[in-house]
Amino acid sequence: MEPIIVLDQVSYCYPVPGSNPQPALHDLSLQVNEGEYVAILGANGSGKSTLARHLNALLLPDQGRVVVAGLDTRQASQRSEIRRTVGMVFQRPEDQIVATLVSHDVAFGPENLGLTPDDIRVRVESALRAVDLWDERDRPPHMLSAGQMQRLALAGVLAVRPRCIVFDEVTAMLDPAGRRAARALMAELHREGLTVITITHLMEEALDASRVVVLNDGEAVLDGTPGDVFSDVARLEPLGLDLPAVANLAHALRAHHPALPPGLLSLPDLVEALEALRCRVALDRRGPTCPPSVSDRAARKSWGPTRPPSALVAAAGLGHTYMLGTPFARRALEDVRLSIRAGEAHGLIGATGSGKSTLLQHLNGLMRPQEGTLRVGSYDLTDLKADIAAVRRIVGLVFQMPEVQIFEQYVGDEIAYGPRLAGLHGEDLRKRVRWAMDLVGLDFDSFKDRFTFAISGGEKRKVAVAATLALRPELLLLDEPTAGLDPSSRRELLIRLKQLQDGGMTLMLSSHQMEDVAELSQRLTVMVEGTTVLDGDAATVFGVGDRLENWGLEQPVVARLAHALDVRGWDLQPGIVDQDVLIDVLESRLEPTP
């Protein structure tokens, strides 16, 4: 097969004014063949996006060379040909959209090629049909959902008819349904013969590819099939990566059932392997089968209130309309019911645009109820005279991608901002900042005087969380806390959040990552189109199965496996979402009778 992209010993440094250049790629050689499907993985700061930008001459190598379809990217005269060959879709679709109408935006690329209006029209139509947006052609892009906007960005690239498309973390901000659609599109483009290169933090997505390249400090350290790359978890961890969720589960199960084969990456494979195991066990069993029992550990793990807990937040009939009284009025919340108990971790899930962020903003008084009732602690938020400042003191809100809101020069000052406004100073302030930094795992002495712009993405996220924690809230609201983090930063943040809850703080988090929600929260609320449709413990909510998919969501992998086994007649108890519970239950089924 023809190589479409060749990187030959490429090195690249970002120039830093008044300081040493920051190296991003180091002596990187890579060859991508026409028609391949390559996933590029790596921790935050490993050079993935820098690499992507070399592939269509957005960046030029300091050393070495990049050749695209036989053309050296350094030759300026070839640049438009190169960009016509390799298209790129970026993470935030709203930053790629130039025009105010869907069809006009798709036309931007072909217009740059200098095609005739008729040719442009043909291309716009076929691109919009390919991503299923033809019916939306006359709408303004900002009226589209996040998933649709991402598809629009892709249509804009498809209209140029490139031979290779690079996807730079396009699924990071999408809900499960949006991610499923994006993955299906990539797979289809690949089937049609396009070369697909995808950069992602989600290990599951790498499984779709035929080849996985792992970057670390600007070098390609692993390169092989998904099976090769994910064969050894010990090798991945130092690189800031993780196994896909299914592989992690398979790994945990193998510790209990060594007979399971290694290298199980997909759910069907894992189900087949467990089936095979069950058949063998059944053959081994000569005596009467022992009744399935749920072990102590499983019983202890099943959630349930031990004593009647008090509700910290109670909402009923809550409604909100944005831009009320303008031509752009848009209903965001309708008849929302919510109850959060003191001390619990409460998950909020729902498709993009289902009203999660709007609801969170009601809980600390950023938005006042237009309809219905809302009580937080002892404050009635429907009362216009309620002390909102006091509400904000007990309810902290960490926004999506909170690191963009950092404004102080030093880490310590950033975290001290809130407590300082609350009147703390001197030694008390110092202590408070130290306490908050400890909670997120930032060392006070070594981090307080660091520049906020010079720390890594994961560290910035921690600073932003600490800046809210420093107010010592009773209830901490987190909007997509793990979005955009690499697997190891994500894992660490989840552990820290769990510790906060153990320390008595009530948490509420909204997330598109079902694994995170399942891992952290005891109770869940599901939102669909602005209203709450279901709430209960994780087992109840994730036990509803197919309905979740209709709502644009999915089950976490443990529940999916339990469901798949149940369909095969394993007759498991309904609503298994916890890995330990599943392991115990499977153990009881697969153990040869003594």
Binding site: L58, R83, R92, E111, I120, T326
Partner: protein
Amino acid sequence: MSEFEFQRYVTIGQYIPTDSIIHRLDPRTRIMGGLFLLLAVTLAPSLAGLLLALVLVVALTRMARVPVGYALRGLLAPLPFIAFLALLQVVLSPASGAAPTLWQWGPLRISMLGIANSIRVVLRFPALILLITTASACTSTSEMVRGLEALLHPLTRIRLPVQDFVLMVQVALRFVPLLAREAERIAKSQASRGAVWGTGRGGPLRRARQALPIFVPLFLVSLQRAESLAIAMDARGYRSFGERTSLVSLHFTRADFLALLACLAASVLIGLV
């Protein structure tokens, strides 16, 4: 009602697709006609002319099927400024022979001229804001860009970067609502951390310091977004002096000719009355 819904007050630059007769005109007609009227409203010397302008602009807004109340909301933000300007006009207008002085105290004087000047300010601003809001409500940025590009095309002959300029205008307009949303998000985030807005306490230095938590991130975010957009445009093959074509083809019809003529006539009338 939320203190944070900044977008509510940004009415300028919002396209409202109502498909009115004005929406169906050639973008060049809308741009040129709008410019004529804008010039006339800005320069109109007489009270009668301004009154006529206000009536015409309200009629235009109705014709474009843009809710007048909504369009006028854009006035809320500059209202204190307009009031102040009007007041200055009343008390600081110079004496003149023709206009009798009604009241005088030191350098401050109220004259008929001052009152007339002040009424002019009060009429001119709503007319301007209505006109600009309506114009932007009727013209999507892509149409405006196409129109501008066609109108300015002759300038490319003297190697002026018309395409870049036009695209700059387009992107700036697209970013207005985006930045309003971003500012809203940042303000909310800082409010969650205990910041209080609009208390108006403390001296100017202290107030400037209060604004820092919004402006620094907003500035950084805008830069980041501008950079991402530039990269995305580059990746989609945009070149400053490249030969570009367009999806939209422009058709200048009889209706356009008549509309343009009407605008020109109205503008002259406003200027001369």
